[in-house]
Amino acid sequence: MPSLRVLSAASSLCLAVVVGACAPAAAPAPPAQAPAAQQPAAAAPGAQVNANTYIPVISKGFQHQFWQAVKLGSENAAKDLNVKITFEGPENESQVDKQIEMLQAALDKKPNAICLAALDSKAVVPLLEKAQSAKIPVVGFDSGVDSNIPVTTAATDNIAAAGAAADKMAQMIGDEGEVGVIVHDQTSRTGIDRRDGFVNQMKTKHPKVNIVDIQYGGGDQLKSTDLAKAMMQAHPNLKGFFGANEGSIIGVLNAVKELNKSGKLVVIGYDSGKQQTDAIRGGVEAGAITQDPIGIGYKCVDSAVKAIKGESLPKNIDTGFYWYDKTNIDDPKVKAVLYD
């Protein structure tokens, strides 16, 4: 019984959290299993895909704008391809245990395929092996898994994208000077890749640019604000600031505003959101890297359907990224991947 397993696995504290806030995310009722889906033909080449095909999408979160955009993309794909999906994820990106419970519960529903954005790329491996032996194809999205089991992974190349941000930063500050960095956390794949992508690109291509400090704000806007202010105080000669996700860059923007440093610092961000796009239009922020969250969501469900049908897929699907600034923010291609 999955519910029993969940009960024993979660402390009463965690359970209260699940009951209190995760429930709305799982609101779409799991679809009734179609007779066809119950047959072990799920991953056999050329398996049927129909309106009863069920693909749970296990995300890294649901309450941030970015994940809402991924959700929208996966729902669009489900509509286009006429399959059923559910979209759920833990409340924050440190709840590895919650995500594993969600994955377990999803497997217990005997789905036709699973889409997974793993919070901890190693912790999910045992469950993925279970999926493999049950012949349920797994499609990774947003970030990869240390395993060969996923048939493909639809993700942004965060190292390349953060490297592009570093190039832009170096170019705008004259290829030398002090730069500060705020990242959302030091343990998640995207946090590590964006930090390392930015730092390594600076080290190898722009040796005169000195990254004076890297701090982690947990994606919390208020904490990131106070963090960025302290960094600006500590390093009065700072010429540029990079925020590695939406919460981090909003903190940097607030700090710039509160310390009246608008125009004195080159601010470069990541992702979008209204506050950030307004700042770019207004010139406070030089520009940002945007991923394609809707595309990530769409591609993962699309790939899952292809996997069910037995079509072969490339190991990685690069969903791409764009540099955007004041000049191209209204370009239809860029506009399509920005969210408010």
Partner: protein, 332 residues
Amino acid sequence: MTSAESAVAVAIAQRRSLLHSDAIQRVLAFGALIVLFAIFSVASPNFLQFDNIVGILLATSVNGVLALGVTFVIITGGIDLSVGTVMTLSAVMTAVFISVWHLPLPLGILAGLATGGLAGLVNGSLVARMRIPPFIATLGMLNIAKGLALVISGLKPIYFNDTPEFNRLAMGSIAGGLLEVPNAVFVLFGASIVASLILTRTVLGRYAFALGSNEEATRLSGVNVGRWKAAIYALAGMFSGLGGVLIAARLNSAQPSLGQGYELDAIAAAVIGGTSLSGGEGSILGTVIGAFIISTLTNGLRILSVPQEWQTVVTGGIVILAVYLDIVRRAR
């Protein structure tokens, strides 16, 4: 003198006898704050700068206001784990009033305060009438408020872009000139004075101490314990509501996904300031100093570029040290 008054008088007298050591804790906390300032000022020329001091004051404002409310509850011998997410829910309600329904700012601010007060009243009723332990009742409220904030906001931040005055309420400065300190800081000081007056000059404050010192004696002497307890939780909720208005004004938006974890900083501020988790003891001045210690420490360690992992370790150590000092002085 009625029996209720005499029981309270006894409780107050008990407290008076502790007043001496209470003062010691406050002096100790204030001394610690001075020492921190001295160390950081020597360690970095960038610490003792006007802008940075303003930064510390501002960083204290939200946590300080939350800590004021939680101090009242802890003095009664209870705990309030919901202050962080009730703050978020209040911020969302303020945003709904101002940015979605386009109502005047004062109404939006009132809505934030009322939301906090209502959530606090529910907490108080759960604790006082239904006899649910405060830890559990407010843990439940933590989740309810968090969930409602997400539901009501539709999982999206709500901005105050049509009403720039709202941001200026917190970030502008009524003082101006040389003393260009954001209003949010004055709000903290104002709220502290109000809280201190309530705690030391009103029946509500006296009963808070009486409840925390000896709830049974207070009940037996005819005090309507349930009603006063509910009122104290409601008051704490209103401070969370004020925190919600402040954070929304500072961030120029209601961010529905933050707030969890803020309760622990608020509780830590109260405890560092000498509020006893076993109830019956505490002061607003102590809590405010406690809140400043936390933000000074965080700011100073950041200025020195201490790795964040270690900042967290140090902050945790300070909380334990503060409680230990409290126990040592009590044992004397």
